[in-house]
Subunit: 403 residues, 2 copies
């Protein structure tokens, strides 16, 4: 074994406080809550310094003290992480937020932020000697877990709604996953996965049902801090479906603060949903700590069509604790924002990424975001994965045409 | 002006030797050859050191001394470059090349290596005060130039065959380019572009008709050297259509050698084509310095369907000078290699990237590549841009199914 330097110490339940060994396979807590990973931050302090990190590999594995994988040999990597943060000067000026930034998770293996969760989740599964995992998916997570499982030599059973983005089917199939389609929703797929796991004893890789995906997503927060020179922005907007990203970013920033690497107030964490599927927004507006199932959900931003998230209470915690917000935008606003970002900034984002730009404009208009605020938009995926989102008509030219 | 530190000194013709100012707009040489950029390498030596470069931004702009843009304000960036090099241990062992590496250009804005040429080409166009450019494209180059032109505020007219990958149409349209389709080949598009440029006085951004795209592509060579600790691999395999990448890599490695940053023989540069479109291979097999138009070309790897490249003589130079090869693989080999890389390594590459893996296996089998060789495969784009390359059939499950 060649030690990564991970300071993982245990798993704990954020709801009932129960603790578990991090060297055994655990899924949910006995109380039904997702489990989180705790690190020995006092030990991490010794090596997790700005200087050390800055000179390490250009991937999320540079944050090894705060990641759960203990043995280098178990790291399954395709070079994920350290996605760029680019200034949106023109769009920001238009929106009245000149210091608007975009962290672009389209520039990562599989083209979405799901690669982070899969890289860390699959690596830890390998370390735990898992041979077969299963999960339901709206597309991108299944694609990422298929791809990383292939690299790890782990068998993956993936079940997705037939309406999921077609390219994600190809990714799963190309990687040799056992892929199945269902005429239904991700919740229907989830039931088949649960029953099959129970019958066969497979590892459950469903969102938040294993504790390590969130540790991968967390690295977005670590990177934002590092890339801004270990300062914190005033707000981070995040498209929120299952919410693992916003939970992870919140966890990351708190860990960095405990390590003494960042100072001051945490950025306002803003959960953005679509008006057609806004359970977190409804809970926030009603001052509640958990969300309710959102019936008949529907939005062009397929990745955030999650009517009831297992980690809803952790998302709401993140929002409440940081003085953030939960807001919803319409599909029309999403499509307009998508086109505007591409035309003005050359950023061809996914519909979910367009949603947060639309939300930022709305929040500036109502005065919640200030002109002086430094605001990070987290685009979760590349526009190229969604060829059918924009309907375009292109004129034809004859071979002897001159423009 | 805030100087980038570029040491660009002039443009020169690699065919007739004529020199041109790098502060004026130039397209082809009077003799019809592409022009190349020359740098003041003596001056570059002072700041282009391993230590300096290693601590710079995580993008291709870290190589600023060897890039043509003089003023920071003209840099148009979406965070492109420093794509990962990942080991292909399992595939390499199967192929008898244990030290097989993949440089993955799928992990870059727009999902292909075309982003490099566009980033540097558009930035220099901005510096030269260009307001309108035009080009024919097989898809990905047009997408990249549309996206970067949008960010730069430059108007882009893009003409592509209707058979080009559909997603690239959406990228151009989303970015607000003036996009047109033609029922024909890229050569038909090229004729319309040429006539329209002549009539309107636009900037010609066609492959190798402006000297700066190649400088962007060159950074792949700079990165390979830097990422391997300023050592050189034994061979680099490159999918070759227009050939700008292999020309650029060759130029980069020669510049690094002149700077004293790498030592020893240059890696064998291996141009890989499809059997259905192999003009460079034919020329190589016949010992010629230029290629002939390859009639009725056809291959599943659309990006290398280029029957006659303007820079063919520079590609052949690169191959001859380094003791390299030009080889072709069949579409069947390409599709098999694509599936194999995804299943074995989790690398979902584009068809062009699959072609070089197939070629590496063939070259190992015939003994040209050795078991001890360190071999870099350059995958030019993400598999997710080509949803129709693999035909897959996915079984359906009923909602009450248990696996």
């Amino acid at each position: 074994m060649s030690s990564t330097g991970s300071t993982i110490s245990q798993l704990y339940c954020p709801k009932c406080g129960k603790q578990f060994s991090a060297d055994e396979v655990h899924q949910l807590c006995d109380c039904g809550s997702p489990l989180l990973v705790r690190y020995d931050l006092e030990r991490a302090k010794k090596t997790f310094t700005k200087e050390n990190i800055g000179s390490r590999e250009k991937s999320l594995w540079r944050y090894r003290e705060l990641l759960p994988v203990k043995d280098d040999e178990n790291i399954v990597s395709l070079g994920e992480g350290l996605t760029p943060i680019i200034p949106l000067k023109k769009a920001g000026s238009k929106a009245g937020i000149p210091k608007l930034l975009l962290k672009d998770e389209g520039i990562i293996p599989t083209g979405t932020f799901k690669a982070r969760g899969a890289a860390v989740g699959v690596s830890k599964a390998k370390e735990l000697n898992i041979k077969q995992l299963a999960m339901p998916t709206n597309g991108n997570a299944g694609a990422a877990w298929s791809i990383y499982s292939a690299r790890a030599g782990i068998r993956a059973t993936i079940i997705m709604p037939e309406d999921a983005p077609k390219i994600t089917r190809n990714e799963c199939a190309a990687a040799g996953a056992d892929l199945y389609l269902v005429k239904g929703l991700i919740s229907d797929c989830g039931k088949i996965v649960a029953a099959s796991i129970k019958k066969n004893g497979w590892y459950d890789a469903s969102t938040l049902k294993e504790p390590y995906r969130i540790e991968g997503k967390k690295t977005m927060g670590l990177e934002i801090a590092e890339q801004l020179g270990f300062t914190l922005p005033d707000a981070i907007l995040y498209p929120t479906g299952g919410g693992v990203g916003i939970i992870g970013i919140h966890k990351a920033l708190k860990e960095l603060k405990e390590l003494g690497l960042v100072e001051g107030e945490l950025p306002k964490l803003i959960a953005v949903q679509a008006k057609g599927c806004a359970p977190i927004v409804k809970a926030f507006d009603e001052g509640k700590k958990e969300s309710e199932f959102y019936p008949d959900s529907r939005t062009v931003a397929f990745g955030i069509n999650v009517p009831k998230a297992l980690g809803d209470f952790l998302v709401l915690d993140a929002v409440y604790e940081t003085g953030g917000r939960a807001v919803a935008v319409s599909d029309d606003e999403i499509l307009k924002a998508l086109k505007e970002l591409a035309e003005v900034e050359g950023s061809f984002v996914c519909p979910e990424g367009a949603a947060i730009y639309a939300a930022a404009k709305n929040l500036r208009e109502e005065g919640y975001l200030k002109e002086t605020d430094r605001v990070v938009l987290l685009n979760t995926g590349a526009g190229i994965k969604y060829p059918d989102t924009l309907s375009i008509e292109v004129p034809y030219l004859s071979k002897d045409a001159v423009l």
